[in-house]
């Protein structure tokens, strides 16, 4: 057993911590307060982070990226999130998909997209899966019902595909330059067999983004609708083969789905770190009857629980990142994602209790952390996300 970080990992951690403290934290509350959900993004901040390597962190060295390992990725996500959870997500959303270009795109597709992605500080990636009537049905498809799941229609006409339909809640939807899109190429078989993944550049004819969703928290990073009206996509933009989408992002070879699970847990860790710091600072500086709040038993018990949960999450996150780096088969990524939901919500809630005890005002940062934490429910900790992990585990244990 060795819990120490190597030099490269420590370097990434320090770089992210410094960026979070100097650049993210000073603007975090102001971005959170922007009322128009389409105006929360800050390109200056994003470009600065991109120049430090946070946008392209997961692109392997042989393709010209920094090639950071999963432990480094987890450390960076947590440190950025400690500054602002949604800013961290804005960067890591790119890592989630850049590996697809590197690992499964053809040399011709790589030539078109990978070098452009690496060179351009404003090149942001997205992935379109969810539709208004297909959320849980994509995550946990009913085995024998071809009607369930995503419906965005893809029809082949010679060398072109014609796409029609709509995606919703798509991360980076209104600013992304390239999307990985799941579309139904065969409506007669279930969603696992009948879906093809396409590369959709922003300038695809017949494609546009729609409204930006007005989220409770996670304001900086934006989710939007993607709308396809007779959009024309060359067959050359199909990733691997027709009907092969479901085999591409499960992570057996690249860590795709596994990354997504680790991502949410590592991001939650940063939120918890921020809440722990904030509550300790408050308990030391605010007094009651002339004595610091920290002297009160109830306050100590709350702060103890916050830190205990946060440290447990940190250990679990780093173990999963290490398992990914060792390419060990495990369902821990799913479990740490589920676990991070309870932890981020309880820790931010306790932080709010400590800040709110004074009456009719609420600390804006404490309230923001709670709003940011609520989104974990449906992304990481609803019943579907929990059952999916158990099914994966049971299958592996056969």
């Amino acid at each position: 057993m060795d819990f120490s970080l190597n030099e490269a990992q420590r370097e990434w951690q320090d770089r992210a911590r410094k960026f979070a403290e100097e650049e993210i934290r000073p603007v975090s509350l102001a971005r959170d307060r922007v009322l128009d959900p389409a105006e929360t993004w800050d390109w200056d901040l994003f470009k600065k982070g991109s120049r430090l390597g946070f946008r392209t962190l997961a692109v392997p060295k042989e393709y010209g990226g920094p090639g950071a390992d999963f432990v480094s990725q987890a450390l960076v996500m947590a440190e950025l999130s400690r500054g602002d959870s949604a800013v961290s997500k804005a960067f890591s959303q790119n890592w989630k998909w850049s590996h697809l270009i590197a690992s499964v795109c053809t040399p011709e597709q790589k030539a078109r997209f990978l070098s452009a992605f690496l060179a351009d500080d404003t090149f942001v990636l997205g992935k379109g899966i969810t539709e208004p009537n297909a959320g849980s049905d994509n995550r946990l498809p009913p085995e024998d019902d071809p009607r369930a799941g995503l419906k965005l229609k893809a029809e082949r006409h010679g060398d072109e595909w014609i796409l029609n339909g709509e995606k919703c809640f798509i991360a980076n939807g209104n600013i992304g330059k390239l999307f990985f899109l799941d579309a139904r190429s065969n409506p007669n078989v279930n969603v696992k067999e009948g879906v093809t993944m396409f590369l959709i550049p922003r300038d695809t004819p017949g494609f546009r983004s729609g409204k930006v969703f007005n989220k409770s928290g996670w304001r900086f990073y934006q989710n939007a609708e993607l709308i396809f009206e007779n959009a024309r996509v060359p067959h050359a933009n199909v990733i691997e083969q027709t009907g092969g989408a479901s085999r591409l992002d499960k992570g057996e070879r690249t860590g795709g789905d596994l990354f997504g699970d680790l991502e949410l847990a590592a991001n939650a860790l940063g939120v918890c770190m921020s809440a722990c710091e904030s509550s300790l600072k408050l308990a030391r500086s605010r007094t009651q009857g002339g004595k610091p709040l920290l002297e009160q038993q109830m306050v100590q018990l709350k702060i103890g629980r916050m830190n205990m949960l946060t440290e447990a999450l940190r250990s679990y996150v780093l173990r999963v990142a290490w398992e990914h780096d060792q390419k060990l088969p495990s369902t821990n990524a799913g479990f740490v994602m589920n676990f991070s939901t309870e932890v981020v919500q309880e820790v931010t809630q306790l932080n709010m209790e400590l800040h709110g005890a004074a009456g009719y005002t609420m600390d804006a940062h404490a309230a923001k952390l709670v709003r940011d934490g609520i989104i974990w429910t449906h992304l990481a900790g609803d019943a579907v996300q929990r059952m999916k992990v158990v099914r994966r585990m049971a299958k592996a244990a056969k």
């Binding site: 959320g135 849980s136 989220k215 409770s216 004595k291 109830m298 009719y360 429910t377 609803d382 019943a383």
Partner: protein
């Protein structure tokens, strides 16, 4: 011994309020700006209409022109109103409760004669109790189970003139209903050396009193609140409530943990609104080949919401019944516990859980600002973390369990 039948009158009142909420409050409360909580001010026309059907004076006795509702009836109405909009509910519930305490219980016949007719006649007239001052803190935490008085120090000073009138100077903050009140009961210190609190009735438009409406989005409460500044504000001698230095309202409306659990009832109403939205949605949303309520995971989640609501409402009704029947404690029918405080802690925590669970049923739509669930979750957080915190509530309950009494 145990009878949960509503009287014919209670049935009628509940149906009337439910209809009022459905027709008048819900259409306004579900407007996007209100969902997003950019706009929380209780609409004046709704408050007027509510007054016309008797909700502003619900708890005032019938002989004085009110509806004479008992504690349980007042709680039923508070739940119904808050299921529509906790901000509207908070204004009406505060006025109704104060109208009963002031006019039925504390004011002298002479005082009643001066203030009651215009209060009853004016549908826009609300009442307020100005207790809270800037930076005041109960300091209960640090003084738990210590023989020192808790309760915020009053700095707002009233000095007596040779004619017996009072000159008031000082500041009150976060006063519920202050911007709408015709009459405000103000806690003052008449003698800076003595700890006692006195209460003076101050009419709106009294020279020397300035009320500033607070921007709701900067605050963490329901209803409408204001800061009040007194600068050499002259108040007639005969406006003193009770005796000097021994205000019967000193501990507010939650004194001793045996008052009417009105905030708790509103909190239940909020939880019910979230639960009903989730239940309706779970019956129509289809995923996994069936309505999601037919999946165990969602079915049991709804079951947990329903059981928390049932337990919370049962607790609120019990506390309300004891408020109306204090003899039940003396006769040892009911344990000697601060039931109002117990209801406060339980409902705040349980309804927060209900709102979060309801949001889970809605998936991603549960976190969108233009959808109701975001608002329900925010409202549940405000109930949880405003006024008496669950932490202070537990300390008060613990002191009662230890049979600790402050002199």
């Amino acid at each position: 011994m145990y009878d949960l039948h509503l009287t014919a009158e209670q049935h009628e009142i509940r149906d009337t309020v439910r209809e009022f909420v459905a027709n008048e409050i819900k259409p306004v409360a579900t407007r996007p700006a209100r969902m997003e909580a950019l706009e929380r001010r209780p609409p004046a026309d709704i408050l007027l209409k509510a007054s016309q059907i008797g909700l502003r004076t619900l708890s005032l006795s019938e002989t004085l022109g009110g509806a004479g509702a008992d504690a349980i009836t007042a709680c039923i109405v508070a739940e119904e109103l808050a299921a529509g909009d906790p901000n509207v509910a908070a204004v009406l519930v505060e006025t109704s409760a104060l109208s009963h305490v002031l006019f039925d219980q504390l004011l002298t016949p002479a005082q009643r004669e001066r203030f009651l007719p215009q209060f009853v006649a004016d549908d826009a007239a609300q009442l307020a109790l100005a207790a809270h001052e800037p930076d005041s803190d109960t300091e209960l935490g640090v003084n738990y189970h210590r023989a020192v008085p808790v309760g915020p120090a009053i700095h707002c000073a009233a000095t007596r003139t040779p004619t017996g009138d009072w000159i008031v100077n000082g500041v009150k903050s976060f006063v519920p209903n202050a911007p709408l009140a015709r009459l405000i009961a103000v806690h003052v210190a008449t003698d800076p050396k003595a700890p006692g609190v006195s209460t003076l009735l101050v009419e709106r438009d009294t020279p020397g009193m300035t009320i500033r409406e607070l921007d709701q989005n900067a605050g963490w409460y329901h209803g409408l609140r204001g800061d009040i500044t007194f600068a050499d504000c002259r108040v007639p001698a005969e406006n003193l409530v009770g005796a000097e230095g021994r205000s019967p309202l000193a501990a507010g409306l939650e004194a001793g943990g045996r008052g009417v659990p009105l905030v708790q009832a509103m909190n239940v109403g909020l939880g019910r609104a979230a639960y009903e939205a989730a239940l309706d949605y779970a019956k129509i949303r289809v995923q996994g080949g069936r309505r999601i309520i037919e999946h165990q995971a969602i079915g049991t989640l709804l079951a947990e919401m329903a059981l928390r609501l049932e337990v919370a409402r049962t607790m609120v009704w019990k506390a309300a019944w004891v408020a109306d029947n204090p003899g039940a404690v003396a006769s040892r029918s009911i344990d000697d516990l601060p039931l109002q405080t117990i209801a406060r802690v339980y409902t705040a925590e349980a309804m927060h859980r209900v709102a979060l669970d309801a949001a889970e049923v809605f998936g991603a739509m549960g976190v969108m600002r233009d959808m109701p669930l975001h608002k329900y979750v925010q409202d549940a957080l405000i109930f949880l973390h405003s006024g008496m915190s669950p932490g202070d509530g537990k300390l008060r309950i613990a002191e009662a369990l230890a049979e600790f009494r402050r002199s």
